[in-house]
Symmetry: C2
Subunit: 306 residues, 2 copies
């Protein structure tokens, strides 16, 4: 079983992109890669083995290697050796050989540096565990589209039994992000196709989940070029609760009445439980002064000029 990710509650955020989150590993996976107590039955600590006994795993779905990074890493390894052991398991198909689970880049760079031996951490891992590690690494890439990401989360949940909280920690996102990504998978195929095609964003698509006719709404959104806030509001409209609908109608009537009375655009944002805000748009200072006079009543103090 993959390690349960350990989540630090209430961690403060830095501004903008979090470099540790963007570039480094989520904590759960770091635990696996040798710095923390290991998962899976350990077969001893780190030791060195001849580099030619190692090979990449056929279970790994995708690996990116920047040539420049490999060259830089090779130089560093030539100077200082491999500082962090490569995680391997005994190769199920070749006795005496090892299959790389994590650290293939360092292995390739060590070859470039012409090392003869590299340090390894050997773990007995089943195929499903190796696949899980590979899945997590893939999910940490920055260029997956929302449905690819959601599919990965789905697999982690279904095949590895992870909770949403656990997945969130493994990939460095919030639980609600994972939950909302998973919900995208429940959309009709047509809507998912528009999402894939970039005609809808994940925010638009998410707002359509649970509506009566997401395909029809999606067509409206695309045709009218609605933004996500507008989409969220549109998705809420059908089937409206009578009270909310009546309140909305009353708010609209109020806005209209008031606009007629004062001759300016009026908007009321009403939230039954929290009060709200009334906004009046004015074009000239005279209009503003008129509004202020009305608000103060005729006996109010004279308004100073701007």
């Amino acid at each position: 079983m993959l390690p349960e990710p350990n989540r630090e509650p209430g961690e403060p955020e830095s501004h903008g992109a979090d470099p540790a989150r963007r570039r480094g590993l989520a904590k759960g996976l770091s635990a696996l890669l040798g710095d923390a107590p290991a998962a899976g039955p350990a077969t001893g600590g780190a030791r060195t083995v001849p580099i030619e006994l190692l090979g990449p795993s056929p279970l790994q779905p995708r690996r990116l290697f920047a040539e420049e990074d490999l060259a830089d890493l090779a130089q560093s390894i030539a100077a200082q050796g491999v500082l962090q052991p490569i995680l391997v398991r005994p190769d199920p198909k070749a006795h005496g050989r090892y299959e790389i689970v994590a650290g293939e880049r360092r292995w390739r760079a060590a070859q470039r540096a012409r090392l003869h031996e590299v340090p390894v951490l050997v773990r007995e891992l089943r195929d499903v565990e190796v696949l899980g590690i590979a899945l997590i690494e893939n999910l940490q890439r920055a260029d997956l589209n929302p449905l690819e990401e959601a599919s990965g989360y789905q697999r982690l949940a279904a095949e590895f039994g992870h909770t949403q909280d656990a997945i969130a920690d493994l990939v460095g996102k919030s639980r609600s992000h994972v939950a909302n990504a998973l919900r995208l998978l429940t959309l009709p195929g047509e809507v998912k196709a528009w999402l894939d095609a970039g005609k809808l964003s994940a925010g638009h698509a998410r707002a359509l989940i649970g509506t009566n006719d997401p395909v029809a709404l999606a067509r409206v959104i695309i045709a009218r070029g609605l933004n996500v806030r507008q989409t969220e509001r549109l998705a809420k409209k059908g089937p409206p609760r009578p009270r909310t609908q009546r309140a909305d109608a009353n708010v609209k009537a109020l806005e209209h009445d008031l606009a007629e009375a004062i001759g300016l655009d009026v908007a009321v944002r009403h939230a039954p439980k929290h009060g709200g805000a009334l906004t009046i748009k004015y074009k000239t200072l005279d209009q503003l002064y008129d509004v202020v006079r009305r608000l103060k009543g005729d006996s109010g103090p004279r308004v100073r000029s701007l």
Copy 2:
């Protein structure tokens, strides 16, 4: 000289991320890669040459190849051949050989597919032109930090004489984005270090440009955890133009007077040339009705209930 990018005015945008922009090439570079009239002196159209005569360029700064993608591409090439010619120039150091300018991935995949010949488009390109192409490809990567991006734009401007408009087209961004990125380079080193460290976002940093003491302001922003809007407002405060300051003071005074008079929170967003908006926050319906009565004057029609 690199081709001038051709910009389509008024192109409609799709929702969310634009796949053509995210995955494909900006139009300027596409023009260079063989589909449109070529840049540089052409030495004939596409022709095939033995694959072993090609080699990668030492001028290319970084190349990413996903193993899975290479494998897939190799399969496709094995089935259908190399459909788009690889852009090469005669190797300056090895007569009779070619240096790959663009298309190295296809070359590597063609090797995997064990092709003997590949189609190439040969161009006489100077080092500076090859570097320019490499720079543009690098800038199209998604994971550059703001200062790396800005440095790339700076080089395209300084070394290749591109206007901001031209650079914008080449990298698929707006001219103002390029301009604002370049402005980040004018910040003091300390502020740039905080930007690199993720303690400030590009938006925060940008707001500090041109202020009297960006380092001191940056410290305040980090210490108080200000958001970008707050940062923008803070950056505007020192040294204020007298008229703007007076207008702000008057707006503040008006807000205060009005809030006192009606007993509710009041905000005025005033733009001298465009009018503005007066917003009143209410907590209960009675408060709303009171405001409406005042606005209508005492003789107004009775307000219907919500």
